[in-house]
């Protein structure tokens, strides 16, 4: 919207430009400029298509028969078939594992947002020395890789008898993602003026009620942003379920796909449908919540 007002590429050139460069407006130059706009757009579109080509290739190949693919790996499908999908669907126990993943992702998201929002309120509003330190301790967690804690976490989970349990996984995901939630919520609450809360306090409104009636409703936009990001992370995660879930019946989509697919005997007609089934729920959500997802992916990062 903003750039429409100042597209210097197309349309008449501002006279100031020629004065500055000191050169006469040669005809080849104007012609070049006239071509450069659409040409750039075409190049940009081409670049984007090249970028998602592997993705399109995955989709078309998974709809072809194995024999057809062997004959011409890059060709277009002669006839479409959903047989690959139905084969893979059964073999990788897709239905149950998708439900498991959904349950784990959902529960973790609820815990992260509720606990994170509760903690961020005092962290944003209390201005003591200790609260600043607690905040710093949380932020520190954003740069700690899972790998650093995975081994001691394994021992802890074993001692607490939480291996092979969804509770264990939800607790781990909550701990791992709380830093991000605290960072998001705290910076957001800091940008809300305190006046409303002070008025509520004068009216005798306690901290808990102030949080639920004033702060929580305001957090809705930032929550949806946070949720798109966190749910992507958890749904797509391989390491945590791979390490902490051994019972095949409890496995997630990613773990099942990982043990099902062997990259060394690459057979695109089983590989690609499995890959697509793994990401299908997210793609469906993405299509419906496109705007929030894009905002979610970009907004949080720029704010800091």
């Amino acid at each position: 919207m903003t750039s429409e007002t100042l597209t210097p590429r197309s349309g008449p050139r501002p006279a100031a430009d020629h004065r500055r460069t000191g050169s006469s407006p040669g005809t080849w130059r104007t012609r070049l400029r006239r071509v450069r706009g659409p040409l750039g757009t075409a190049l940009l579109c081409l670049g984007t298509v090249l970028f998602v080509l592997p993705f399109l290739f995955t989709i078309t190949t998974s709809l072809r028969t194995a024999a057809d693919v062997t004959r011409s790996p890059l060709g277009l499908p002669h006839s479409l078939t959903l047989k690959n999908f139905s084969d893979v669907f059964g073999q990788m126990h897709y239905g149950p594992s998708a439900l498991n993943t959904l349950l784990i992702t959902g529960l973790s998201c609820v815990c992260i947002t509720v606990i994170g929002a509760l903690a961020s309120y005092p962290l944003a509003r209390l201005t003591q020395n200790w609260s600043a330190w607690v905040y710093r301790l949380f932020i520190l967690g954003t740069s700690v890789p899972v790998f650093v804690v995975v081994a001691p976490l394994y021992l802890l989970m074993r001692d607490l008898d939480l291996l092979d349990s969804y509770t264990g996984l939800v607790l781990i995901y909550t701990a791992l993602n709380l830093p991000l939630a605290v960072f998001f919520y705290t910076s957001f609450i800091r940008s809300i003026p305190v006046d409303l809360e002070e008025a509520a306090a004068l009216d005798g409104c306690g901290a808990l009620r102030t949080f639920f009636t004033i702060i929580l409703p305001l957090l809705r936009p930032v929550t949806s942003t946070l949720l798109t990001f966190i749910s992507l992370q958890i749904w797509n995660d391989l390491l945590v379920p791979l390490v902490f879930l051994q019972d095949p019946a409890k496995r997630t989509v990613m773990v099942n796909a990982y043990s099902f697919i062997d990259p060394h005997t690459v057979q695109p007609t089983t590989l690609f449908p499995a890959a697509l089934l793994g990401v299908l729920p997210l793609l469906v959500i993405f299509i419906f919540l496109q705007r929030q997802v894009v905002a979610g992916i970009s907004a949080g990062a720029v704010k800091s």
Partner: protein, 290 residues
């Protein structure tokens, strides 16, 4: 009254501190302690001081993995952000296609790293998509066993990482572009600043905060890369794509060298903390100067 309110507010922190303390801080501290023992994961563990770290330095495997991890991060940070910036600046100048294309560019970000790695393991295969595509264009000479050659494998793995997250970098740059003050850009246009000139002296300084965020995020993300090398090469060929995360995983959950694996994970943490804090403070310093 106000005092009681503050106490009640502080109580809101309790659940977060409990979960974060037990499942993040405690394992972190215990991990550092365990790296100073000879633990095999069982109940027995004797304190051996810096023994594991000395063993680590003696293993060329570890130093090689550290180098691969850092090299991988440098390649990913530079190329991914350059591509993201290129796409963002082109999209910003083309409002008609901006929205659609930026969404399209984000699709690879949505799929899981493991699935992306699976798809690319086929594309990189000797008879896979890339070599077939090169054959179609008559570029048979460029065909290559991408993941099987130690000199290209690490870059091939990095390429998948870049493919997946360049759209993400682009989205962050684009958001920064969209928040640029219109008056400033208009003034630049009136002054006749176009093309490269306008980018260099107007847009680039304004993009400084976005660059800081992008570089820091991609640096931390690429230093802890796991799924891409695991699925695409599993550290091979000849250990040329072995990263610190793969070493941690292999030693802790396969090799029976529990304490050693944890010591490698502490090395990973040190690498992440040192590199990310150095880069982000350098970039912030630069932001202030601009």
């Amino acid at each position: 009254m106000i005092h009681r309110r503050r106490t009640a507010m502080a109580a809101f922190l309790l659940p977060a501190i409990a979960v974060y303390g037990v499942f993040m801080i405690y394992p972190l501290v215990r991990g550092v302690y365990l790296s100073l023992t000879n633990s095999l994961g069982g109940p027995r563990a004797d304190f051996v001081g810096l023994e594991q770290y000395r063993a680590m330095m003696d293993k060329p495997q570890v130093t090689a993995a550290l180098w691969h991890t850092v090299l991988y991060a440098i390649v990913v940070v530079v190329v991914q952000n350059a591509l993201g910036l290129l796409f963002a600046s082109m999209l910003f100048r083309r409002p008609k296609v901006r929205k659609v294309l930026s969404v399209v560019l984000l699709t690879p970000t949505l799929i899981s790293p493991m699935m992306a790695a699976f798809i690319w393991s086929y594309l990189f295969a000797p008879s896979g998509g890339i070599n077939a595509l090169l054959g179609v264009f008559g570029l048979d000479g460029l065909q290559h066993v991408w993941l099987g050659d130690p000199s290209t494998a690490l870059y091939a793995v990095a390429a998948v990482n870049i493919w997946m997250f360049a759209g993400y970098s682009c989205a962050i740059f684009l958001a920064s572009y969209m928040s640029m003050p219109t008056e400033l850009l208009d003034a630049a246009a009136v002054d006749g600043a176009t093309g490269w000139r306008r980018f260099r002296s107007v847009e680039w300084p304004l993009l400084a905060p976005a660059l800081t965020v992008n570089v820091t995020l991609s640096l931390i993300g690429s230093l802890k890369v796991f799924e891409f090398p695991l699925v695409l090469t599993n550290g091979g060929p000849a250990g040329s794509t072995d990263t610190l995360t793969l070493l941690v995983y292999r030693n802790v959950f396969g090799g029976g060298k529990f304490a050693f694996g944890i010591a490698v994970s502490v090395l990973l943490l040190a690498t992440v903390v040192v590199l990310s804090s150095a880069t982000s403070s350098l970039l912030r310093l630069r932001e202030r100067r601009i």
